[in-house]
Amino acid sequence: MRKQLRIVHYINQFFAGIGGEEHNDTPLTVVDKPVGPGRLLESLFGEQAQIVATIYCGDDYFVSNEKEVISEIQAILYDQRPDLVVTGPAFDAGRYGISCALVCKAAQDVGIPAVTGMHEDNPGITTYRHEIISVPTGETPIGMASELKDIVALAHKLLEESSSLGPGDQVGFAPTGIRTPYLRENHAAERSVNMLLARLKSEPFSSEISNLSYGSVVAPEPIKDLSSTKVAFITTAGVVPKGNPDQLSTNVNRRVMEYDISNLEQLNVDEWESLHSGFKGFIYNTVNPNYALPLPAFKEAERQGLIGSIYPQMLSVVGGGCPVTEAKRLGSEISARLQKGGVQAAIVAST
């Protein structure tokens, strides 16, 4: 008689059928059967497997209550004792990918193997690459059926041979970036000469170390008339009202905060603080927060007619623990907001 494979599946509110962005604050919920893509997942695992519980949660709820959510999930896992945890797939959804990665970590921390699936640029992979096993997927759910099959295949391999899984690009998961030495047929001198010869002959070759490229952007055209331009100001020092009422994280931040500066002449040291945990905020927090974003100087420039107007909100992000792909996502979000607000230029004050 085949042993039953007991699986716990984690998804977000959208894949649980609750709704989209507007239901991002759905609290952690457990159901004792497969939900959404879990149904197909369970059937792909076959007769010997069962999704004994589906845990779902709103993406924003997860990010804002991370500690509690992880504790609750680990408690559920202690209770259910599954053989495997599957999370997602999250495709290119950044917050969802991060929750999927964190749930995998939480499962692994209590001794349960876990797999997930998401696009290779998802911050879940770029941030937690070393710690999770993920099938690379497309950006959208369009290929989900076949990607779920890949997840099932990977899960079986993981359960059978977790300590000697092999390199990701051969086994079928996103490379973890962990380099494991092994004995090769030819030594490095031969391999490098062969690689060079192939390159000189324009023949295909595989680099043994891959280089990440961040891509490039063409410089925007200069502003023709600054005196009629609306300019926005952004700080990566996580400048927030003192006491951090919105609970912006000091590191690994995923949100863009906006604070009204339309009636302010400057940032008063009693009213603002810089949260970024990557440097000493002492001077910003006890002497002068305007060193982080020189608001009085920009207000003076506006008075002098150097600039047309100032966007009424100061945008604040925390630059720490921010991988490139996440920064790109935050940047896209910021530029969409600013374009909507008629802003034509922006200055980022980055510590």
């Binding site: 600054l226 440097f279 020189p294 009085p296 600039i307 004050a349």
Partner: protein, 72 residues
């Protein structure tokens, strides 16, 4: 972008990079007199604003004269 470590954004392709002071005080210097500190802050801010009006191809560093003279 105003940066205390301009080499980093320049190497990553940020087109208009303005040198600031230090990571701990980017747009001014608490060791200066209030007047000089204000001149410095205004100098950095206007250098950044003026950089927006300059056509650039490759990443370019902009620097207020005041920043040069304050550096050790």
């Amino acid at each position: 972008m105003i940066s205390a470590l301009p080499a980093i954004p320049l190497s990553l392709g940020a087109h208009r990079v303005v040198r600031g002071l230090r990571v701990e005080h980017l747009c001014g210097d608490p060791n200066l007199s209030p007047d000089r500190d204000w001149e410095l802050m205004y100098g950095i801010a206007t250098t950044a604003l003026e950089a927006l009006e300059v056509a650039v191809g490759d990443p370019q560093l902009f620097q207020s004269d005041l920043v040069m003279s304050e550096e050790a």
